[in-house]
């Protein structure tokens, strides 16, 4: 604090007083003063010009970046569509290749049984719809907003309650799906979500909701809704249609050679 006090107490260069205490010199250096004043003026003008000049450039850069992100997102959508159509093609080719004998039939039956479980094909059925959102007063506090861990807890609670398929905002969850926070947004399958978050889960319509509410996740969300005023609506739905997860691929695991 001493430093600040000294700055406040002695804001003028002490040299002025020293020079004035000496005998009064005849005024000289007028020219230096004038030149310096001009330099200062030019400094102000140049800085102001530069700041106003770069403002539109920054704005341009920003919009360009936004456009690039949009383009990339469109491209991603297109590629995912292609993945879906190629997956269908694989299914028809596989059916053709397997042929018509008994072993092929049992293999196909196993594939048909496993595909919906892992999320490889779209599924439909009764279940629950849970809509969650940030609290309306969520301006500053991050704790009043839905975080990635809240959605993780929600999804895990649904699995625990016996859900057979879950999707968040249309993104089907598989056992390879990551729910993560990235900056301000929550991503599922590395795609950012927009609020509000609609979590759809297919499961036994008689028990799914009750079991979820009684689970740890239900308590977690009850707490968020009551203490943080987050939106948390849970309702039974007779018919839900969940799309396939287009991102299912094994990157490292291969078929075991026996």
């Amino acid at each position: 604090m001493d430093l600040l006090n000294q700055i406040i107490r002695q804001p003028v260069d002490p040299d002025y007083a020293v020079a004035a205490a000496r005998e009064h010199e005849p005024p000289r250096g007028r020219w230096a003063l004038t030149v310096l004043a001009m330099i200062i003026g030019a400094l102000f003008a140049v800085a102001a010009l530069q700041t106003t000049r770069t403002a539109p450039a920054l704005e341009l850069e920003r919009t360009e970046l936004i456009n690039r992100v949009r383009n990339a997102e469109g491209e991603q959508d297109q590629l995912q569509g292609r993945v879906t159509s190629l997956t269908q093609e694989i299914a028809t080719l596989r059916a053709a290749a397997l042929g018509d004998d008994d072993a092929a039939h049992s293999l196909e039956a196993r594939i048909d049984a496993l595909d919906p479980v892992v999320g490889n094909v779209g599924v439909a059925g009764p279940g629950v719809l849970i809509v969650v959102d940030d609290s309306p007063s969520a301006t500053a506090e991050a704790r009043d907003r839905v975080l990635d861990i809240d959605l993780q807890v929600l999804a895990n609670g649904l699995w625990e309650a016996g859900a057979e398929a879950i999707s968040i905002n249309g993104h089907r969850l598989s056992n390879l799906t990551a729910i993560r926070g990235a900056g301000d947004a929550i991503t599922v399958d590395y795609r950012s979500l927009t609020r509000p978050y609609r979590v759809e889960a297919i499961g036994d319509p008689r028990t799914l909701q009750a079991r979820f509410v009684e689970s740890l996740a239900g308590a977690w969300w009850n707490d968020l809704a009551q203490n943080r005023q987050m939106r948390y609506e849970i309702s039974d739905v007779k018919q839900l249609d969940l799309a396939a997860d287009p991102g299912i691929v094994l990157r490292h695991a291969g078929r075991a050679t026996s």
Binding site: I7, D13, D15, R28, R30, T34, A42, A45, V46, Q50
Partner: protein, 110 residues
């Protein structure tokens, strides 16, 4: 009067000629301007108190600008450039406000 005219002439010259600052020096321009403002306010206060001297003003201005820019430059080299720039702005800002208050008291007796 002469410095005021010089200031105006400088502003006009700067706008008309639009000299381009080298890219290397650009980050130090705002800091130099804050240092210049501090020198200006200090000079005006000294003038009101009757102790103004051209030579002191010229020397103090140049050294202020150079030291402020040097502090930020060194900070940039060791990775605390923006923090040191903040420090310079805070210190010079306090001086500017104190001097402005003294000038106001001297001019308006309020």
């Amino acid at each position: 009067m002469i410095p005021l005219l010089g200031l105006l002439a400088g502003i006009v010259l700067g706008i008309v000629l639009e000299p381009s600052i080298p890219q290397v020096l650009q980050p130090y321009l705002p800091i130099a301007i804050v240092a210049a403002m501090d020198a200006l306010f200090g000079a005006f206060r000294a003038y009101l108190e009757g102790t103004f001297t051209d030579r002191v003003f010229v020397v103090s201005f140049i050294s202020n600008v150079l030291i402020a820019a040097a502090i930020v430059y060194v900070g940039d080299q060791i990775g605390v450039g923006s923090q040191l720039a903040t420090g310079v702005v805070v210190v010079l800002g306090i001086r500017i406000f104190t001097n402005a208050a003294a000038i106001r008291r001297a001019l308006f007796h309020a």
